[in-house]
Amino acid sequence: MATTDEAPQTDESAAPPTQRREKRLGGHDRLVIGAMLALPIVLVVGLVWVPALGSVALSFGTWNGFGDLDTIEWVGFQNYQDIATIYPPFWPAIRHNLIWLAFLFVFPTLLGILLAVVLDREMRGSRFYQTAFYMPVVLSVALIGFIWQLFYSRDQGLINEVFGTEVDWYGDPDVNLWAVLVANAWRHTGYVMLLYLAGLKGVDSTLREAAAVDGASEVRTFFHVIFPVMRPINMIVVVIVVIESLRAFDIVWVINKGRNGLELIGALVAQNVIGEATRYGFGSALAVIMMLISSIFITIYLRNVFREERQR
């Protein structure tokens, strides 16, 4: 928006016609433009900024949700201090969110690329495999947690039944995070695969031919020609991974409400605010911490995008 406003003023040769056009804007047009600007602003402010700032404000108080706002007791940084010092699930939650991020970055992404490259070769039945791998993406994450329960259940699950083991996949805090990550990767891989598959289809075939003529091996071609060309896709995948791992919540919520080895910041916020527990101040403080962590990634991403736009 800012760039289109400034453009006429900097570009002097184009100034007269633009000005004339601006003058000619009738009342109707102005109304339309005004509405088109006002509506998104109202939505963004009302649905994003006001609740966000409200959370920040609430995070400095304690309130159980009963009665008017004047029943809020302001406690300064007490909630933050409690979270960092006497709230045992907090640090594990931070660690788990970071593990989640790293895991999604590495395994499903690599596997997704591999599957995309293989399926791109148009072998027999590749459509079938494509659909099969993509199928889990259609399912909600909550449902996936439930489906995998059938594999993971300690007493009645498939894995323990087949291998005769007694591993408590969802209950043992040392393994359950990894078990959940595998279940989550099952879904995420298909997503990444599809994105790269689309990217590969979009790569100009002359590039491959040129590389082949130059005598490059297939592996070399992929890493030095194809992969760099797919930069937009890479960027999208990075963004999706970051978003997915920060908002990770539903799968652990259906498994055990984000407790016992599956603590995630999002689940802790929900535990404190949704449901019967109504620690609105405490929960808001957790939400603010989550917001700060997200904004680090958002800032990095936006800086990257803007830098690219400037280079163009």
Binding site: G54, G65, F66, R154, Y170, G171, Q271, E276, R279
Partner: protein, 448 residues
């Protein structure tokens, strides 16, 4: 101080609508609406069906009473019983009842926004702290003028009383927590329900000797293990200590609580391993198929076994300290409250009183496949199963009745502190000092 307001509170409606109405509302209700719609992550919208419109109703003579129930139509007998009561009330009093059925968990999780929005006149709820906190916040109506209610004895009156000494609740049914076992398994092995602690230990040792795990145990959902804590605390420290501990008036890192965990630790080898990955249904199955000998749970254990409970029996947890005895137990009571925000206060109260009667209980039990155990002693027991008849006897004989930890204490504390802490203990039973110290720190922060 905190006056409930029936109108002007957008929390009960869906988020988009509240976002639009904010334009016209006062600054305060804008802030309030925003705080809730933003922070509750949309949970305000869950009860949209409950919001109702403000136009209908009215509180005149013979006006409709709105009845909010925490069982959806798909819930089977639980829903049928409530619906049958509503129908019977209409028939008997001529008052029209408008039923608002909401799924159980949704109802519970949205109760805050529901009560502060435009609630139904009468709604299903629980005795204990869960009731008392709403009484304190002025969200439910004082119904002490309805009491005494014919057929409801003193312990039920006690359970309906908030800390201010007034009644805010009308009980309708309850179920005990006890140690369940299969009659056939006990008969085959020549086992008998233990009378004393020595019997109890001998029984568990014998079970282990025969390759049967004495206790089924699952705590994936976090709350079932609270029942074990409750009963051990009541057996070791007595009912009064248990209740004041729940009220936040005793130290969680004191010797009494440590003793509870110590005892629990010595009992853990008699429980199924790895409880944190097992749901209570799976644990119940283990008891049902004979892998485990006993299971400490509520009577709802029958539901997980998919049978009518003919082969099930139970005994109350045996005495651990002879100076304390074994006459206290958890027996959560369900019943009804009148919402202070309801439009038809008189009609709501009249209906609540009727719902506590023996006639209402009979109507419920005759209208559904599975009966509940009526709180009213005048209610007919002809539809009861043997298990239910025995439950009624056992609870009737108990000197003290607790409501279960998550009903007896602050919900914030129960859900965000006790569940993770008990799970931490089960993971690492040797660090009792660490767990109790952590509970105490958090309790101090929450109870203030």
């Amino acid at each position: 101080m905190s006056r409930p307001r029936p109108t002007g509170f957008p929390g009960g409606t869906s988020v988009p609508r509240s976002a639009l109405t904010t334009m016209a509302a006062s600054r305060r209700s804008v802030l309030r609406g925003m705080a809730l719609s933003g922070l509750a992550l949309g949970s305000g919208g869950l009860l949209a069906a409950c919001g109702g419109d403000d136009s209908g109703g009215g509180s005149g003579e013979g006006a409709t009473v709105k009845f909010g129930i925490n069982e959806a139509e798909s819930a089977g007998p639980a829903y049928d019983r409530l619906a049958a009561m509503a129908a019977a009330y209409t028939e008997e009093s001529g008052t029209e009842v408008s039923l608002n059925a909401v799924d159980h968990n949704t109802f519970q999780e949205s109760i805050n926004t529901y009560l502060q929005g435009s609630p139904d006149d009468v709604f299903t709820w629980f005795a204990g702290f869960r009731m008392a906190q709403f009484a304190e916040a002025g969200l439910i109506t004082d119904v002490s003028d309805l009491w005494p209610i014919d057929g409801l004895n003193d312990s039920f009156k006690q359970a309906s009383t908030a800390p201010d000494g007034k009644q805010y609740f009308v009980p309708v049914q309850y179920y005990p927590w006890a140690v369940f076992y299969r009659k056939s398994v006990f008969d085959k092995n020549g086992w008998a329900p233990p009378e004393t602690n020595d019997d109890f230990m001998a029984l568990m040792d014998d079970m282990q000797g025969k390759g049967v795990t004495p206790f089924a145990f699952g705590d994936k959902d976090g709350w079932p293990a609270m029942g074990t804590f409750d009963i051990l605390n009541m057996r070791l420290n007595g009912f009064d200590f248990h209740m004041s501990l729940m009220a936040g008036e005793e130290a969680w890192d004191g010797d009494e609580v440590k003793q509870v965990f110590e005892t629990w630790r010595t009992l853990l080898p008699y429980h199924q391993e790895d409880p944190l990955g097992r749901t209570w249904q799976e644990a119940a199955t283990a008891m049902g198929n004979g892998e485990c000998g006993m299971y400490l749970l509520g009577t709802f254990v029958v539901d997980a076994l998919g049978e009518n409970g003919e082969d099930l029996d139970f005994f109350t947890f045996p005495e651990l300290d002879s100076s304390i005895g074994s006459d206290a137990l958890d027996a959560p009571i369900d019943g009804f409250c009148v919402a202070a925000g309801g439009q038809n206060q008189e009609g709501g109260k009249a209906m609540a009183k009727w719902l506590g009667s023996a006639v209402a209980a009979d109507a419920a039990n005759n209208g559904a496949d599975a009966p509940f155990i009526a709180a009213n002693e005048g209610a007919s027991t002809s539809t009861y199963s043997d298990l239910q008849k025995k439950s009624a006897e056992v609870v009737g004989a108990a000197a003290n009745i607790a409501q279960f930890m998550d009903r007896d204490t602050n919900a914030d504390f129960a859900n965000t502190v006790m569940i993770p802490s008990i799970q931490e203990f089960l993971k690492n039973p040797d660090d009792i000092d660490g767990v109790t110290a952590s509970i105490q720190e958090q309790a101090a922060s929450i109870f203030g």
